[in-house]
């Protein structure tokens, strides 16, 4: 090691670490050690739930060898070679607990590796450990995890705040510099909402851009994995490695993946940015409104044309989502029956197989997961299928058409708030109606229903001192253009605040 010291290397961006590794200013082992030290010092955040230091150091040593070999042959190792990452517990990682933060998968160690982690490791990335999340990715506050709550590194008073959810562990780990980047998944906003709550960047790609194989399924027509990072450039680098066609996921798109980092030109002159009037909600805090207006001004200053647009079916997105997602979840989660993997309840004398299923599922699933399975069971049951499920799928088609009409009219990207509020206190929603918690997803869920790419970018602190983000929504398969818009917003906003270290 020369030049840079590894002290504080855990705070680096992926891009900075890549450059330092290639220039031999730091080794992957030293960079990994810096992150492992930060990880162990960050236990108060409860972000990591299964630490894998042995795997990390072995991967780091291999990365150093690969970086050296590339250097000697005059080439470059992949961008993620030697980069320490955290992996959401939803991704199956061979031989490492992968529980989806559920007691029903207690003790489950997959015999296979998800496509996403296979690709990341193929590019030389280092896994530090598995990250906390809401159980089966169902939640917006990371309070439904079998491992307990994740605490947001941002703190402004005595209260412990939520990092958002479901990718709350990923968001907290990235914001607190316990890794350089983390994988997340997003079914209704689970990358973008926690990214906004913790002042980091998170992108949900177009449905089909990233393989879902080996990612524990929640709602298969909505789930999509993506990166959570400290900058837009890092998101571009990270997403590049995750993306691409996978024969093992029939819905993964057989499309060429463009060079996302090369697309970050910072030039959006003449681009049309749509501002959807339906996203101006009643009772929206003035601060969110002002943040949005500032974002509009930033895009305008960068030479974009601002266009008022209408997405008339927006208000029906949440109710449609809360029919479709539980319906798909009730089918997907039928596999947890105590037979093939995970938890099986202790049985009483005379209990048959039905009692085994019922007791196992009652013990293994938490209350929110149970509720969603039952809602899904109800809306799919005979006599209600058309009234709820088919109607919701028709409304979904209309929501998608709203976006198609906007894009057909020449809109390049759509700018909206990312969340209706900044981070709230853990436990503050404990007595709320389940529906109140669902409102967290109001700005993000339309994007999943329409299958579009969406990115949350941190823009400012609110008057309490908590980060707030804006969301940009792109055309299908145009992550490259979307990331460039996000890059412009990031540079204009100049958000550099970090949480004060209290943990």
């Amino acid at each position: 090691m020369s030049g840079k010291t590894s002290m504080g290397a855990n705070t680096w961006t992926i891009a900075a670490a890549r450059d330092a590794l290639r220039k031999k200013e730091i080794t992957a082992v030293d960079l990994t050690m810096a992150c492992l030290t930060a990880m162990d010092a960050g236990d108060a955040l409860n972000a990591y739930v299964h630490k894998t230091p042995e795997i990390a150091l072995e991967q780091a040593r291999a990365a150093d060898a690969r970086l050296a070999a590339a250097r000697n042959s005059g080439g470059d190792a992949p961008s993620l070679c030697g980069i320490p990452l955290g992996i959401k517990d939803l991704f199956c990682t061979k031989g490492v607990p992968s529980q989806a933060a559920s007691n029903i998968l207690k003790g489950f160690k997959p015999e296979y590796e998800s496509t996403v982690t296979t690709k990341l490791f193929g590019d030389g990335a280092v896994m530090l450990g598995k990250l906390n999340m809401d159980e089966f990715a169902m939640g917006s506050s990371n309070e439904s995890s079998c491992y307990g709550n994740v605490v947001n590194p941002w703190k402004v008073d005595d209260r412990a705040l939520t990092p958002g959810g479901s990718s709350g562990g990923s968001a907290a780990a990235v914001a607190a510099d316990l890794c350089l980047g983390a994988t997340g998944t997003d079914t209704g906003g689970s990358i973008r909402q926690p990214a906004a709550f913790t002042g980091i960047t998170g992108i949900k790609p177009t449905y089909g851009r990233v393989s879902r194989w080996g990612v524990v399924a929640f709602a298969s027509s909505l789930d999509q994995a993506g990166p959570m990072t400290k900058s837009v450039r890092d998101a571009a680098i990270f997403l590049q490695s995750m993306s691409g066609h996978d024969p093992k996921d029939s819905t993964s798109a057989d499309l060429a993946v463009p060079d996302f980092e090369a697309a970050l030109t910072g030039d959006i002159r003449g681009k049309k940015i749509g501002i959807p009037r339906e996203y101006r909600m009643d009772g929206m805090p003035a601060e969110i409104d002002a943040l949005w207006a500032n974002g509009v001004a930033m895009m305008k200053d960068a030479g974009a044309e601002i266009v008022d647009i209408s997405l008339p079916h927006t208000k029906y997105a949440l109710p449609a989502y809360y029919v479709i997602a539980p319906a798909e979840a009730s089918s997907n989660l039928a596999r947890y029956d105590g037979v093939r993997y995970g938890h099986r309840a202790a049985l009483a004398a005379g209990d048959g197989i039905t009692e085994m299923y019922e007791k196992t599922r009652a013990e293994g699933f938490g209350p929110e997961v149970q509720r969603r399975i039952m809602v899904g069971t109800y809306v799919l049951s005979a006599g209600f299928y058309d009234a709820y499920y088919n109607r919701a799928r028709k409304v979904r088609a209309l929501i998608k058409r709203d976006f198609e009409l906007a894009f057909d009219a020449g809109i390049d990207a759509i700018l909206t708030p990312a969340t209706p509020t900044s981070a709230f206190g853990l436990g503050e929603m404990a007595n709320a109606d389940p529906v109140e918690m669902y409102l967290n997803d109001v700005f993000t869920v339309t994007v999943n229903l329409a299958g579009l790419p969406g990115v949350a970018v941190p823009v400012a602190l609110d008057k309490k001192g908590l980060p707030m983000g804006l969301q940009l929504i792109g055309r299908p398969w145009d992550e490259a253009g979307l990331l460039n818009h996000a890059y412009v917003l990031e540079r204009a906003a100049g958000f550099v605040s970090k949480p004060d270290k209290w943990w």
Binding site: V339, R371, V375, A397
Partner: protein, 95 residues
């Protein structure tokens, strides 16, 4: 549509989740609240709209109908709560 206690019991049964009798009223209330929220969908005119079946209009890839894996019995049984003699073991099934 409001969910009564009998319906909640039936849904729990269909979902194969044991719910204690004492918890059924609360469950019925919560399910009713969620379904009430969904009722908004009835405001939308969906006449002539086809239900969305895929996010992107693409034909799913077909693969050749051939065996591509197998002989991994030990791996498949590795995580089973109860595996015996190469099989998953379950309680007696008596109808």
């Amino acid at each position: 549509m409001s969910i009564d206690i009998d319906t909640a019991r039936k849904v729990a049964k269909l979902a194969r989740i044991r719910v204690e009798e004492a918890h059924l009223p609360k469950l019925a209330e919560q399910l009713s609240g969620i379904l009430g929220f969904m009722e908004q969908l009835n405001e939308v005119d969906v006449t002539g709209v086809e239900p969305m079946v895929s996010v992107t209009p693409m034909r799913l890839k077909r693969r050749a109908d051939v065996v591509t894996d197998g002989n991994i019995q030990a791996q498949i049984l590795k995580n089973a709560p109860d595996a015996r003699e190469g099989f998953f073991a379950v309680p007696k099934v008596v109808e």
